[in-house]
Amino acid sequence: MEVRTEQEDDVLVTTVNGRIDSATVSEFQHLMERAITDDIRRVIVDFENLSYINSAGLRAVLVITKNLWTRNAKLALHSLQPSIQEVFSIAGFDKIIQVCADKAEALDATQEK
């Protein structure tokens, strides 16, 4: 599992490669939380090369999203593999987390309206 992050003004652009499972979930959450500094208002996460996630991984995504929400920052995920998209919908995460087709849509979805 690899997390790459790049900050563009107040936007954190993140790419996750590999698997988020019981072995890697703590590292995933730690790397994300470390990258989300106080000046970040929007977080975009590219899951195109995420090959696997389990319920422990979903829990971490929920915690990160809740933490951002409490400080009025926004998160959007994009480019999910079909199986992962399905798991997100089964969990009802698509109702509480922005899941977008691509990066442009994710940037738009997190725009201050």
Binding site: D21, S22, A23, Y52, N54, S55, A56, L58, R59, L62, T65, K66, W69, T70, Q81, P82, S83, I84, V87, I90, A91, G92, K95, I96, I97
Partner: protein
């Protein structure tokens, strides 16, 4: 084609990698679609992680047995453990899939994935062992 593999592993998190490897091998040999492979991997992961984390009240090493069978029509898996009596299909908490973000509770999702993603799921207990058997059609 048909293929079958049985693993006896210790109830320890680091042992779950052996199930990963077995799924890779049988999926490759049987030509599973990526979606089937993902779902079989997920249901085995969720159930076996629960056994490792919750099935035993002692700190001893226990064995658990995982069987994976595949033919042209379906994939079947069975998990056997000697932990406390527990039927995940009935006894696991219902997940919260509805609440707003800030109220959303986590928990029960792993077993909920199992129930949602397979075509048939059964539990029984015999000789002080829990058995969970799942089957999923390949198309």
């Amino acid at each position: 084609m048909t293929a079958s593999t049985t693993l006896v592993i210790k109830t320890a998190i680091e042992e779950l990698q052996k199930i990963e490897t077995a799924v890779d091998e049988i999926s490759g040999a049987e030509g599973w679609q990526p979606d089937i492979e993902f779902k079989i991997r997920l249901v085995l992961d969720e159930l076996c992680t629960n056994v490792v984390n919750y099935a035993h009240r002692d700190d001893l090493d226990h064995d658990m047995t995982v069987t994976i069978e595949s033919d042209d029509d379906e994939v079947r898996v069975e998990i056997v453990d000697d932990g406390d009596p527990f039927n995940p299909l009935e006894d696991a908490p219902e997940p919260d899939t509805e609440s707003a973000l800030i109220d959303r509770k986590i928990g029960g999702l792993g077993v909920y994935f199992v129930k949602t993603l397979v075509d048939d799921a059964r539990y029984w207990r015999v000789d002080d062992k829990n058995h969970v058997a799942l089957s999923k059609r390949r198309s």
